[in-house]
């Protein structure tokens, strides 16, 4: 399935006609359109192709998916193994985040903690298709991206507790999850900050292939960020560079409609983010981010596009966060009706329903997974609790890769040679 021509017959999000056809997963719901924005959602019927674009095209993935699957026979999109893997990953994400909330209120972790409840389909749908050498760049809402990429729950929980056994030795915290082994390149507190880093990782992939002649290097980078970021300069600058040099990157927008208390519609002149892709010469795709199988379909194509060297894709996932922006957010601005609409589209419930109705697995097997994940999360908390806090000696250790960077002290020796340096008490 390629992203074929035009905006023809594009059905924008949530129109009932779309939902009833191709959707195995979600109960048909007729959502109300965006309220607040004066921008009209254009239902263009003419297959207008933007002739000024030299390459790249956009199509609503729903359109493509609709074409692909015959409506009459239930075409299974996944195998049993895949289904269970997806289910387990999403349940891990959910259980872990719920545990984070508990631990936060019990005073085990502090600061800004941003939870991913409700958005699991995006993380699982995309990251489970990656190889270990592929890279993921995230934002401050990065716990679940880390888990999906393979960082052990123990390491993430320890990091949140600020223990030395955390994936970043306790030095990063909730918003700075990194893993060299699993190629998770962060974890960034400022929005948009990670997108250039992701572009750089994609650049390295292309460089390795073309300059270093590692011909089978086809590493792909995924950059996850939100709707608020799509009004930020770094986003646009990187769309330009990625398309210009055909970098193997996928820009994944997790559009949950809210940037803390700022509705996407109140801050964006044209709220349809996927349309910004073709402006830069790459396909822009919109997908239902509450539906892990749909996300997976789109992700497959976007990732293989990148692997083939055809360049970047912009994927806008319509999703929703069930909790507030962070654990400190009272979440008073969002309409409870909106929340309950999306809660009804819970991706985990939907996948569970699909698996059972397609006879891929039994309820008992799914319950067993639930139990297993509970144990994993409990174990992670236990491990984090029992882990030691970082000693004072860790303070100065990772400031520089080469600690000579602290310079030469008055006595002529490098400061890092001072015995107090390893104790963390040296004067630098």
């Amino acid at each position: 399935m390629a992203f074929s021509a035009a905006t023809a017959n594009f059905n924008p999000l949530n129109t009932p006609s779309l939902r009833s056809h191709d959707n195995h997963l979600v109960t048909s719901v007729s959502p109300s359109p965006f309220f607040g924005s004066t921008a009209k959602l254009r239902l263009s019927s003419s297959p207008k192709f933007n002739v000024h674009r030299r390459s790249g095209s956009v199509v609503a993935v729903s359109e493509a998916v609709k074409e692909k699957k015959p409506k009459s026979t239930p075409n299974l999109l996944i195998t049993k193994e895949e289904g269970l893997e997806l289910y387990e990953d999403m349940v891990l994400g959910r259980a872990f985040e719920d545990m984070c909330a508990q631990m936060y209120y019990r005073g085990k972790m502090f600061g800004f903690v941003h939870l991913y409840n409700g958005q699991e389909a995006v993380s699982t749908g995309f990251i489970k298709l990656l190889k270990q050498q592929d890279s993921v760049v995230s934002t401050y809402r990065d716990h679940v991206h880390a888990l999906s990429k393979g960082v052990p729950a123990r390491a993430v929980m320890s990091e949140l507790f600020g223990k030395t056994t955390g994936c970043c030795r306790g030095q990063g915290g909730s918003m700075h999850m990194f893993s060299r082994e699993h190629n998770l390149l962060g974890g960034f507190a400022f929005i948009g900050e990670g997108i250039p880093v992701a572009t750089g990782a994609a650049f390295t992939s292309k460089y390795k292939r073309e300059v270093l002649k590692e011909v089978d290097c086809d590493h792909v980078t995924l950059a996850f960020f939100g709707d608020g970021t799509c009004n930020n300069g770094q986003f646009y600058e990187c769309l330009n560079m990625a398309a210009l040099w055909k970098l193997p990157i996928v820009f994944v927008v997790e559009n949950n409609l809210w940037a803390i208390g700022m509705s996407h519609l109140r801050s964006t002149s044209d709220p349809q983010i996927y349309k910004k892709g073709p402006a830069f010469g790459m396909p822009g795709v919109h997908v239902d981010g509450m539906d892990v199988l749909k996300v997976r379909e789109v992700a497959k194509e976007a990732i293989s596009r990148a692997r083939r060297g055809e360049g970047p894709t912009l994927v806008e996932c319509e999703t929703y966060r069930f909790r507030g922006h962070s654990l400190a957010d009272p979440d008073e601005l969002r309409d409870p009706a909106e929340k309950s609409r999306y809660t009804a589209r819970d991706p985990i419930t939907a996948l569970k329903k699909y698996i059972i109705e397609s006879n891929l697995a039994s309820e008992a097997e799914l319950k067993a997974i639930d139990k297993k994940i509970d144990e994993v999360v409990e174990d992670a908390v236990e491990f984090a609790d029992e882990s030691p806090v970082p000693p004072r000696s860790q303070l100065l250790e990772n400031v520089f890769a080469d600690p000579k960077g602290f310079g030469i002290g008055p006595d002529g020796r490098y400061r890092c040679e001072d015995p107090k340096f390893t104790q963390g008490t040296a004067h630098v």
């Binding site: 890279s135 760049v137 955390g166 994936c167 970043c168 030795r169 306790g170 030095q171 990063g172 915290g173 700075h176 990194f178 893993s179 060299r180 390149l185 962060g186 974890g187 960034f188 507190a189 400022f190 900050e193 997108i195 250039p196 880093v197 992701a198 572009t199 750089g200 990782a201 650049f203 390295t204 992939s205 292309k206 460089y207 390795k208 073309e210 300059v211 270093l212 300069g233 770094q234 600058e237 330009n240 560079m241 210009l244 990772n398 400031v399 520089f400 890769a401 080469d402 000579k404 960077g405 602290f406 310079g407 030469i408 002290g409 008055p410 006595d411 002529g412 490098y414 400061r415 630098v428």
Partner: protein, 408 residues
């Protein structure tokens, strides 16, 4: 001990002078710190009683040029094919260093505006795109924040990028990436990712370039933890610092100066680097320590000539490493002379001089016979008018006056 005096011919305005900073340090300090290999230094001998035997190409008429700046190379007089090493201009030295490192390690790449086909706005990357290709010498769109971030991402995943800011001032747009990511990611990732990036570009006050093109970013960047800053001032240390910065595993910001690109010097043929954390002894002396860097080095040396004529014996140190300071070289000097004058091009408020004053006071207060004097640029946006611009930066007569005041 016969001190070595580097003669700076004012008329030649430094371009063809055999201006080599000879490391007299080497005999005093521990050898392992000095990486630089020196050869082909032509020098004059100043006896410790202050009399000078100049071995230069004749003593030219010493007119004090108030804007000491590099002029065209006077190749005929200065160069001699029988001497070891080769002569080149500072921008060529940078290019040579860059090219050698790119030859040595295929992971080294360049990113910046007009670095490729154009050859760099100051010709530092001239010819490199032809030799190494468009991907290794990447012409970026005008998006400093993003291509600096891209360089950081590339560094995290195995490459060794050299990011060029066409003018250092443009890197203000990249401050987000430099401060948040460049400096911090090694730490917040718990040491998992290194960022062996070099960020370089010309800064400083030029010839009536206007306020925005005349900025000194070293003062803004100096607080960022996790980065190193160095400033080059001669072709020798430009090449050496460039190479050391590229080879370093730490993120390094290399400050060049717009007016120094045409300085000419004879440098060694063989491979050498300059230690990133060390300062450079330019002219040993007894009476006063003058700490400086980048272009102000030349104003200081110009003033030094006048001072020597007046009977003073200044010790001039080019601090080179703006972060961290080489407190050993500086400290030894302070302990010897007991008087410190800092001459810098940064603004008075919060500049490198301010930090250096604090560091010296903190560490060597007991050795000072007088308060530290710091000559900096005025706290004004650099005016366009030549006359005003001239008084914005420190001029040699001010340095002479300051030393006289300090040594009273």
């Amino acid at each position: 001990m016969a001190a070595i005096f580097q003669g700076v011919g004012a008329a030649e305005a430094l371009s063809s002078s055999p201006f080599n900073s000879f490391d007299s340090n080497k005999s005093i300090f521990s050898p392992r710190r000095s990486f630089s290999v020196r050869k082909g230094a032509s020098f004059a001998v100043v006896r410790s009683d202050g009399t000078v035997n100049l071995n230069l190409k004749g003593r030219r008429a010493q007119q004090l040029i108030s804007n000491a700046v590099a002029t065209k190379a006077d190749s005929a007089a200065a160069s001699s094919s029988s001497k070891p090493g080769h002569e080149l201009l500072l921008f060529e030295a940078l290019q040579e260093g860059l090219e050698e490192e790119m030859d040595r390690d295929p992971h080294v790449c360049v990113m910046g505006e007009d670095v490729g086909h154009y050859g760099g706005s100051y010709k530092v990357t001239k010819g490199l795109a032809k030799k190494f290709g468009d991907l290794r010498v990447l012409d970026t769109p005008i998006a400093e924040n993003s291509f600096t971030g891209m360089g950081i991402g590339a560094a995290m995943t195995g490459l060794r990028p050299v990011i060029e800011g066409m003018n250092m001032g443009f890197l203000l747009l990249a401050f987000n990436q430099i401060s948040n990511n460049c400096g911090m990611l090694h730490y917040t990732s718990g040491g998992q990712f290194t960022i062996p990036i070099v960020i370089r570009g010309p800064g400083g006050v030029g010839r009536q370039l206007g306020a925005e093109h005349s900025q000194r970013l070293e003062s803004y960047f100096q607080s960022i933890p996790g980065i190193q800053m160095v400033a080059c001032s001669t072709p020798y240390n430009a090449k050496g610092l460039m190479k050391a910065a590229i080879r370093s595993e730490n993120p390094v910001i290399l400050f060049e100066h717009v007016l120094l690109y045409n300085l000419k010097e004879r440098i060694p043929d063989e491979d050498y680097i300059c230690n990133l954390e060390e300062a450079e002894m330019v002219r040993p002396g007894e009476h006063v320590t003058i700490l400086t860097y980048s272009r102000m080095r030349y104003h200081v040396m110009q003033a030094a000539k006048t001072l020597v004529n007046k009977g003073y014996d200044p010790e001039v140190i080019d601090i080179r490493s703006l972060k961290p300071f080489d407190l050993y070289t500086i400290g030894n000097s302070v302990k010897k002379t007991h008087r410190v004058l800092i001459v810098e091009e940064c603004m008075r408020t919060g500049g490198i001089g301010a930090s250096l004053t604090a560091a010296i006071t903190e560490n060597f207060n007991d050795y000072l016979d007088a308060p530290i004097m710091c000559l900096s640029s005025q706290d004004v946006p650099t005016p366009y008018a030549g006359t005003l611009e001239e008084v914005t930066v420190v001029q040699p007569p001010q340095i002479v006056t300051a030393v006289e005041q300090l040594c009273q």
